[in-house]
């Protein structure tokens, strides 16, 4: 709010309010009400600002967590998509691995191989070892796998 000279809009507004009031008591009553309203506004603003100290960083954390989930699973989907496109382009017309009449068989083979990898992954037995298929576990200090817990019991 900038200061204004005598007779400026702010003073004009104050004069209009005083002239519109029935009595001097009305002006004082309105002024005290404005002060009380300002105190209430200040308290409300303070409470909201204190709440914002927690809420705004939490919102940032939520957004970052969403970005991480999107990066992990969206990235996985994207790389599978790129792989499928690469396979299709390589066996398609003009592709380096276009086998003519056998391209269809090669395509089916690529899809079935992908299906085999997926099923092999899903049918893998649960293991406490960090890397399956090797006879020892890679130690992860501070965090033990499920088999280590069973051995302790």
């Amino acid at each position: 709010m900038s200061a204004s000279g005598a007779g400026g809009p702010r003073v004009q507004d104050l004069f209009n309010r005083a002239a519109s009031a029935d009595s001097l008591g009305g002006v004082i009553f309105q002024g005290i009400g404005a002060i009380l309203l300002a105190v209430g506004t200040a308290i409300a603003s303070g409470v909201l600002s204190i709440a914002d100290v927690v809420i705004v960083p939490l919102n940032a954390l939520t957004g970052a967590a969403g970005q991480l989930i999107d990066a992990i699973f969206g990235g996985a989907a994207q790389i599978i998509d790129f792989g499928a496109i690469a396979t299709a382009l390589s066996i398609g017309p003009g592709g380096m691995f276009n086998l003519g009449p056998f391209s269809f068989a090669l395509g089916i083979g690529a899809v079935l191989l992908g299906l085999y990898v997926l099923i092999a992954y899903l049918s893998e037995e649960p293991t406490g070892n960090f890397v399956p298929g090797i006879p020892f576990d890679i130690p992860t200090p501070g965090f033990t796998g499920p088999e280590e817990d069973e051995e302790e019991n």
């Binding site: 104050l14 009031a21 001097l24 002060i35 940032a60 990066a71 990235g75 792989g83 965090f143």
Partner: protein
């Protein structure tokens, strides 16, 4: 708008100095109250601005620290894309394998942390 007739009396031939004084004093009181409210809100704005700055700082720190893993993961995926594109007919299997290995590592780490 102001009804100027309120400052006149006796059929508009005399000035009601009582009312003029009342409005003048009321204007001064209004200015005083307006000043009090302005000073009060201005004083309150000081800690609120500090709190706002702290809030923005915390949000920036959390956004950067918590957002870095997403950036790293995205860069990792981006680095793997040329390999998949160069794999020819095995690109589909290569992409699927990379995704499954990554998800396996994530699942193992999450399961170990939860234990």
């Amino acid at each position: 708008m102001v009804d100027w007739s309120q400052f006149l009396t006796n059929g508009g031939t005399r000035i009601d100095f009582g009312r003029v004084a009342e409005v003048g004093v009321g204007t001064v009181f209004g200015a005083v109250f307006t000043g009090i409210v302005s000073v009060l809100l201005g004083l309150v704005d000081i800690p609120l601005a500090l709190l706002g700055g702290l809030t923005n700082f915390l949000a920036s720190v959390v956004g950067i620290v918590a957002g870095l893993p997403a950036v790293i993961v995205e860069r990792g995926w981006t680095a793997a894309i040329p390999f998949v594109l160069d794999a020819g007919p095995a690109g589909y299997v290569a992409g699927l394998s990379i995704a499954l290995v990554t998800l396996y590592v994530i699942a193992q780490v999450v399961s170990r942390v939860r234990e």
